[in-house]
Symmetry: C7
Subunit: 80 residues, 7 copies
Amino acid sequence: MPDAPTHLLERVISQRVTLVLKDSRRLSGRLLGVDEHMNVVLDEAEESTAEVTRHLGRVVLRGSNVVVLNAPQGATGKSA
Amino acid sequence: MPDAPTHLLERVISQRVTLVLKDSRRLSGRLLGVDEHMNVVLDEAEESTAEVTRHLGRVVLRGSNVVVLNAPQGATGKSA
Amino acid sequence: MPDAPTHLLERVISQRVTLVLKDSRRLSGRLLGVDEHMNVVLDEAEESTAEVTRHLGRVVLRGSNVVVLNAPQGATGKSA
Amino acid sequence: MPDAPTHLLERVISQRVTLVLKDSRRLSGRLLGVDEHMNVVLDEAEESTAEVTRHLGRVVLRGSNVVVLNAPQGATGKSA
Amino acid sequence: MPDAPTHLLERVISQRVTLVLKDSRRLSGRLLGVDEHMNVVLDEAEESTAEVTRHLGRVVLRGSNVVVLNAPQGATGKSA
Amino acid sequence: MPDAPTHLLERVISQRVTLVLKDSRRLSGRLLGVDEHMNVVLDEAEESTAEVTRHLGRVVLRGSNVVVLNAPQGATGKSA
Amino acid sequence: MPDAPTHLLERVISQRVTLVLKDSRRLSGRLLGVDEHMNVVLDEAEESTAEVTRHLGRVVLRGSNVVVLNAPQGATGKSA
């Protein structure tokens, strides 16, 4: 497969990403790590709603709650 | 089996597809990658509702949220 | 087992089938493929509600959303 | 174990059974096949509500939607 | 582990048990069989609500719907 | 890992524990057994709401319904 | 992968962490243990809502209910 989902995830390590969760919560942060279940570690994490932004620091998100991970810049280094 | 779902998915790589998610969200984009869990990578992704279209860029969708993937053009090259 | 579910599914390949999904959506189309998770590929797919029919073309349905697959004509060729 | 669930299911093949699904739908039909996930094939299937009975013919039910399978006559031939 | 859940279940075979399901349905019957997924076979099964008791005969319950199995008498024969 | 969840569970065998379930039901009892899915056997089990306490005797709880197991006294014997 | 989620979790053992659960419950406590399913053991656990804080002592949380684990201080000792 030309570009498997887990490969993209590894290529955006250390970039800022935004995650939409099943409960509609929206979290963004610098991606520190990810595994095959889409468990995600974020640093400098923030939870933002229309009204307010809460600073959370380091968080681990359980992959089963993730709907979409948005890596706006794409991957700077394409896989060879 | 004549035409397994994962084979169709691989044959529409690089086409524009539309996904309907369990929370009724509708996302479209160019299909960059997919795996056996239906985790999907889209480029030039857009989320559209009746009122508005949001440009998201590169996204990874967790397969467990996918209901339908619509590849309107079908596969241009049939599997041999 | 005399007639396992996956065998019936393979025997109705290329027939028109109707699927009821967990969100009550109703899709019909010509069955192109199916796998052991009940992921389904339909061609000439249509989504129909009481009011309207939408033509979708080629779709892949994730099996975890399927409640019932209805093959009204049964299988024309019984398994030997 | 004296009487495992899958064994009972195999012994009621070809009897009429009634299934209650998670969405409270109630389907009955002649049991043609079943597998270890409780995926079920019914022939002469009917969906019945308090008001109306719809004839469906041959259906495949995905096991993850099944709550109860009721085999009113029990198994006519007990396992030896 | 001193008393694993599946062992207790095997020891109450042939006793009357009551099951509470995820949809709050309450079923009781004589336990004929059980497997490691908590799929359960009941004989002389009854579904009871505050108002009414329905006699169902032989049923197979899919384990994923079970919340609690209540074996009021405990196990008459303790495991050695 | 210094203190894995299943080890704690084994160390509180025979103590009274309280479980909160996904449907908000609250059950307490003496912990007789537990397995790696968090299926739990309780003796002298009670279900209590704000208004009333029901005595259930011996119960098996399916682990998939458990949210929290509270062992108020902790483990009397620490792992070496 | 540079910093897998389970590694971060092991590095914050014995720190105070806060967990958000699927039912929006919020629990905090000192992390005693964690496994690959994100089953979590907390000591000196507290459940807090806007109005009240309840002291729970030792608890085991089933990983399938966890949305986010927040380790505000990050890991004091980075993995080598």
